[in-house]
């Protein structure tokens, strides 16, 4: 047996997901059965509070046990029939998703155009739940089901503003693109299922594939699956949906989509590739190890160059999020090379760098979209010019936005700098100097558009310069908390790094 025998305590491995599903049902029931129609903002706060409770409870009871020694041919962390791997890697990603969900619920309360009711928050919670399962999935069937479950909730949320043509359009574009790429991924999974002689468990598949002489077909199947992952992470060449969906979808939700969904994509990417096509034992692994580098370079350049030309802030942040995926792919590249030369320390460093970057990117980008959500409502425009004079109209919010932009850019005192440092360090330790040089060039390119926002806020003047913009309490708290975290994590970065490193080591043994 490649995985532990069933016993009921294994349900602890999916305790956060069980809690989230129950809470989504509670939110729907409260919305439906409350005598007078309950205030929408109460529902939002209830959703956020429930997710916070699930997070705290899981931290108390469901943290995976550390230090289980792996034995040959068995994997005690692989539970529930091998569907789920109960390890710190999945758990750290779950924390990222749930935190993103909580912050997004709070921002959504003040986003009037969405008229977010019970079904909005329930879908958000269900998307968070499915992402948790994605990060933990350890089986082809589970991988597909979890990926689709999260996508379905995200399609509906992207098209949530039914009466707004652009939101409906965003929903259908996201759906068509997602449905096609997920079918392509599924075709790859079916080929892997056949090549491995009917196995679906990652470990069992890897064992058969390593011994079989089916290199060409295995490579084809792997590329098809990577297409699905590239869609989730919005990496080139499956990034086309990103700007349109980001522009049309409800703004607070875009903060969630650009961070949690991308992090989930990287979680399944790293786990699948290293478990099923484990370098250097799998012959097909050479292809993905080599493929990640050009993918990273193209994604960074495309995102950064096109972001410069945008005048709509949500489109600009969409291309920025493509570029950020490129930076994270640097870490994946370093991971592949380190694993191929069988250096577990360097591989763990690279995985930890990706986790750290995904976590800090989540905080930074949600802060940025929270500000965009409020400013675009108050000014009535999503153009970058809507930010003109924000430094005088809402000084503290402008300060939060500046922190977010500088952190996305990677300016030294902020956490984005630390994250990029970890990524580049991982790449340097694998002698990927060209890749690091290209990464630095891209950071320099991104100065133009990130500082363009800062310039609009402080240098440009708007006709309404004297009228302050009132920021609602929930959004103000989100901006305050996440920009405080952007500063604080830098100070305490070694503590956060050691957690990320533990999670990375859990992936690798």
């Amino acid at each position: 047996m490649a995985y532990s025998e069933f016993d009921p305590s294994q349900f602890l491995a999916i305790a956060p997901e069980i809690g989230l599903v129950l809470w989504a049902l509670v939110i729907l029931a409260v919305d439906m059965f409350s005598a007078r129609r309950i205030a929408r903002r109460t529902l939002g706060i209830l959703a956020a509070a429930g997710m916070a409770a699930v997070l705290i409870l899981s931290l108390l009871i469901a943290v995976p046990p550390a230090g289980v020694m792996p034995q040959i041919g068995s994997d005690p962390r692989s539970v529930l029939g091998g569907m789920i791997r109960h390890d710190l890697f999945a758990f750290v990603f779950r924390i990222i998703f749930i935190l993103a969900g909580i912050l997004t619920c709070l921002v959504s309360i003040d986003f009037r155009p969405a008229r977010a009711g019970g079904e909005y928050y329930a879908l958000l919670i269900l998307a968070t739940m499915a992402m948790g399962l994605m990060a933990a999935s350890n089986d082809l069937i589970m991988l597909y089901l979890a990926t689709e479950a999260s996508s379905f909730a995200l399609y509906l949320l992207a098209g949530f503003m039914r009466d707004t043509p652009r939101s409906a359009e965003a929903g259908i574009k996201y759906f068509v693109f997602g449905a096609v790429t997920s079918s392509i991924m599924l075709y790859g999974l079916a080929l892997i299922f056949g090549l491995s002689g009917g196995q679906t468990h990652y470990g069992a598949v890897a064992q058969v594939l390593a011994g079989a002489d089916t290199r060409m077909l295995a490579v084809l199947a792997m590329l098809l699956v990577i297409a699905g992952f590239a869609f989730k992470t919005s990496a080139v060449p499956f990034h086309f949906w990103t700007p349109d969906v980001y522009e049309g979808a409800p703004t607070p939700f875009v903060g969630f989509l650009s961070t949690a969904s991308k992090a989930a994509g990287f979680a399944i990417l790293m786990r699948f590739l290293v478990y099923v096509f484990e370098p250097p034992f799998s012959q097909a692994s050479v292809v993905w190890v080599q493929l990640m580098q050009p993918l990273a370079i193209l994604t960074m350049f495309l995102g950064n160059l096109l972001a410069i030309t945008q005048s709509n802030i949500k489109r600009m942040l969409a291309y920025s999020s493509i570029a950020q995926a490129g930076y994270m792919l640097i870490g994946v590249t370093a991971f592949g090379f380190a694993y191929s030369r069988q250096s577990p320390e360097a591989a763990a460093d690279a995985v930890a760098a990706v986790i750290f970057y995904a976590a800090t990117y989540m905080l930074t980008n949600i802060a940025a979209f929270a500000v965009v959500s409020i400013v675009s409502q108050r000014v009535g425009s999503e153009q970058i010019s809507a930010f003109n004079g924000l430094g005088r109209r809402a000084p503290y919010t402008a300060l939060g936005m500046t922190a977010a932009m500088l952190s996305l850019l990677g300016a030294p005192p902020l956490v984005g700098f630390v994250g990029k440092l970890f990524l580049f360090r991982a790449a340097i330790s694998d002698d990927l100097l060209l890749l690091v040089a290209i990464g630095v060039v891209n950071v320099l390119i991104s100065v133009f558009y990130y500082l363009g926002i800062v310039r609009a806020m402080y240098v440009e003047r708007s006709p309404d310069d004297e009228q302050p913009i009132r920021i609602p309490a929930a959004t103000a708290w989100v901006v305050l908390v996440s920009s405080a975290a952007i500063l604080f994590i830098t100070v305490a970065s070694m503590q956060f790094w050691s957690v990320a490193l533990d999670a990375a080591k859990a992936l690798l043994n």
């Binding site: 089901l145 098209g159 652009r166 929903g171 259908i172 079918s183 075709y187 056949g194 009917g198």
Partner: protein
Amino acid sequence: MLNGIPLYWFLLISAALFCIGLYGVLARKNAIAILMGVELMLNAVNINLLAFWRYVAPSSPAGLAFAAFIFVIAAAEAAIGLALMISVYRNTRSVDPDKLDSMKL
């Protein structure tokens, strides 16, 4: 096995069906037809899975379970796709993807 039909016949059928579906998605001018293309792609995968199950691992239920899950996913996907199409149609009176261009550079 199976009256002498070799496995690769099924795989070829499946690959052809998948390509037809993909072509439909890329070429059709109607969102409903695009959805039908996606369904064809999913059915191609199911043929693949069931052929592999029958020829490679008939004793394990994994292939059947995988295929059954794909039915469910395909049904849910069709429901969500049609819901989104209705909301687009109410806004624009059209389901032609080429006309969905309110967001361009």
